[in-house]
């Protein structure tokens, strides 16, 4: 495909038009987003009520029982941690690779991290039996000179997640400051006060620009190892146990790649919703982005599929009985519908569809596919966590299956409400598209044209 056919309209729009498009939703309210936010608040309130009931009544309100002590709370925790990885991958990796098309998607990805990571971090607190004592996991000075157990992966979790949360918030904030500073004079009312406070007196001097860019580059490098460690550590919550199906050497890479895979799916869902809610964004988020990000997605999908099946191959060759039991239980037992749905929805369908450029460039099918992958990645966490515990029950003691209870369902839905509602609110207060990065790319293109080298704004790489 030649560059003329790219149909990318941002190449034709001017910098003020980019500004108008990027800042269009700020401070406006429409019935669509009002409805979404109201619904999300309802979900969060229901979850709050369910959690309060769980704290006051006790843990019997959940469906957990011996031997399935970990259920949908942990599944959703892993799911949100996975989605949160989109932020770091897309912004840091693409920034480091110098991909010019990244500008339109980086902040979307970072904001997804901003909301999904607290959603994930709330689950360990919700799921421990004594939430009021959960701070024991932190190393704080106490008269008994007790430390947390640094051998325990749960303590590693605490450190990994809080590091990632701090890092990604700073990353997002540093790259947002120029936009806030630029937009401040044109804002009105409380938004102006907010922007003034948050832009820290940004004036746009050359020195300030240099620092912002250096900080962005530095954070991209620093955040990548954090990302890798966070999800590897989450996988160690399972891989370091003796539970069959959990105890696996390749869980680190599987979880990491799976996280990026589902995170990219979440970015696609979010991009489609943004385009639908704010038509002005169509100027800035185009088929090219879908195409390029779709390729990244395809690669991640292939890597995930390889690792997922590779998890069973050594067990098969080595006749590792418990792992094979676990596989049969998944594929032909109570979790067969989940398992086959995830194989088809995560592997067969996306890889067949994403291989075609026509598909990657059509927005509605991509939206549907991203929803399918999100659901199937959730199912992947279900079949990783529950069946292992159910078959890890050799002592013919208790064979009750686990099923989700209304309390757990309400709390899980509440975090979805928090993430979706938070993202919608964020779009109404802060620019979700990084105006300065888009404008910078645009001005670089103008420079190139002036210099007589006409390079397409977005190179498709073909």
């Amino acid at each position: 495909m030649s560059h003329e056919n790219l149909n990318f309209r941002a190449a034709e729009i001017s910098i003020p038009e980019i500004y108008n498009a990027a800042f269009e939703p700020i401070g406006r309210s429409g019935w669509r987003s009002n409805l979404v936010i109201a619904f999300c608040i309802l979900l969060v309130l229901t979850a709050g009520f369910a959690f309060a009931r769980q704290v006051f009544c006790g843990f019997w309100v959940t469906g957990l029982h011996i031997p399935v002590y970990w259920g949908y709370f942990i599944i959703t925790f892993v799911f949100w941690i996975g989605v949160a990885h989109a932020g770091a991958l897309i912004s840091a990796l693409l920034r480091l690779c110098g991909a010019e098309w990244k500008s339109a998607v980086t902040r979307v990805a970072e904001v997804i991290t901003l909301f999904t990571l607290p959603a994930a971090a709330s689950f360990p607190l919700i799921h421990v039996g004594r939430t009021e004592a959960a701070y024991y996991c932190l190393p704080f000075p106490n008269h008994r000179l007790l430390w947390p157990n640094f051998k325990s992966m749960l303590v590693w979790d605490v450190f990994a997640i809080s590091t990632y949360l701090t890092g990604s918030v700073i990353f997002l904030y540093v790259t947002t400051v120029p936009d806030l500073g630029i937009a401040r004079p044109r804002m009105k009312g409380w938004l102006r006060t907010l922007y003034t406070l948050m832009s820290w007196g940004w004036r746009g001097t050359a020195e300030e620009w240099k620092r912002v860019k250096e900080a962005a580059a530095l954070y991209s490098v620093i955040i990548l190892p954090v990302v890798i460690s966070v999800h590897t550590i989450v996988s160690w919550d399972f891989a370091m146990q003796v539970v069959p199906g959990w105890h696996s050497e390749v869980f680190g890479p599987i979880f990491f790649v799976g996280a990026l895979y589902s995170g990219t799916a979440a970015v696609f869902t979010m991009l489609c919703i943004l385009i639908w809610t704010y038509p002005s964004f169509r100027l800035l988020i185009t088929q090219v982005h879908f195409d390029m990000l779709g390729r990244v997605w395809l690669v991640l999908g292939l890597a995930w599929a390889y690792l997922f099946f590779n998890d069973f191959l050594p067990a098969y060759y080595a006749h590792k009985a418990d792992k094979m039991d676990y596989l049969y239980y998944n594929a032909f037992g109570a979790y067969a519908p989940h398992w086959w749905m995830l194989v088809i929805g995560n592997f067969v369908v996306p890889l067949m569809c994403l291989a075609f450029q026509e598909f990657r460039r059509s927005i509605i099918p991509m939206f549907i596919l991203s929803i399918i992958v999100n659901i199937c990645m959730y199912l992947e966490r279900v079949v990783i966590i529950i069946p292992g515990l159910e078959i890890y029950n050799k002592l013919n003691y208790n064979i009750l299956p686990y099923s989700i209870s209304p309390t757990e369902f309400a709390i899980v839905c509440g975090t979805f409400g928090w993430v979706i509602g938070g993202l919608t609110t964020f779009c109404r207060i802060f620019p979700i598209l990084p105006y300065w990065e888009l404008a910078e790319t645009k001005s670089r293109q103008i420079e190139r044209e002036v210099a007589g080298v006409n390079v397409a704004y977005f190179q498709s790489g073909e």
Binding site: F59, V128, A134
Partner: protein, 199 residues
């Protein structure tokens, strides 16, 4: 509902092919593993090995992550799903030496740690050596057929040491081969199928 709490339970284990099936009753309690999978995963040192080889559970410290119970190969850790309640008149029945566990913490067989500590103190106060059989855990005490024996394996002369030495062809550890847990609870195979069950 699967929320019962039993610190010691009887597992039925079946061996052989129909119609030649043998049933064994195996009392399953915390094995007080020397290399306990439950200890290393507890973030707050609520499950912790003591100097005398017990696997202690510190209820005040427990935050209820339930990871230790997932990781115990014997499924002997019981989680308190419900706040325990008694009619006020019944409260005097509770053992004053044993702390009452709250909702939200993990509990399990303690090897009657309160009796061990009392025997410890008795020995220290009266400045005499520990006499074998002086200390029996509640399950050992109440088993009418004497199927359970408690004692000091470090003491060559104790009943349990002699028993283990004498019956060495029948002793086995449950789960040690698969999980390398180094349990402190030793089982004896039934005499009649000692060979049939050979490790």
């Amino acid at each position: 509902m699967g929320r019962m709490m039993d610190w010691i339970r009887i597992e039925r284990m079946f061996h052989g092919e129909y119609p030649d099936i043998q049933t064994m009753f195996v009392p399953m309690l915390c094995q007080h593993c020397g290399s306990a999978p439950c200890e290393s995963v507890c973030p707050v040192f609520a499950a912790v090995g003591t100097h005398d080889g017990l696997n202690a559970q510190i209820y005040n410290r427990c935050v209820g992550t339930r990871l230790c119970a997932n990781n115990c190969p014997y499924h002997v850790r019981m989680y308190n799903f419900v706040q325990p309640k008694w009619p006020p008149s019944m409260e005097l029945l509770l053992n004053p030496d044993v702390s009452v566990r709250n909702e939200g913490v993990m509990e399990k067989c303690t090897m009657c740690v309160q009796r061990i500590r009392r025997a410890d103190l008795d020995v220290k106060v009266s400045k005499r050596p520990y006499a074998d059989g002086e200390l029996r855990t509640a399950c050992v005490q109440s088993c009418p057929s004497g199927a359970l024996v408690f004692g000091d394996l470090n003491d060559e002369e104790s009943t349990i040491s002699k028993l283990v030495k004498h019956e060495s062809n029948r002793t086995y550890y449950i789960g040690h081969v698969e999980y390398h847990t180094a349990p402190n609870v030793i089982y004896l195979r039934p005499e009649k199928n000692a060979e049939a069950l050979g490790e």
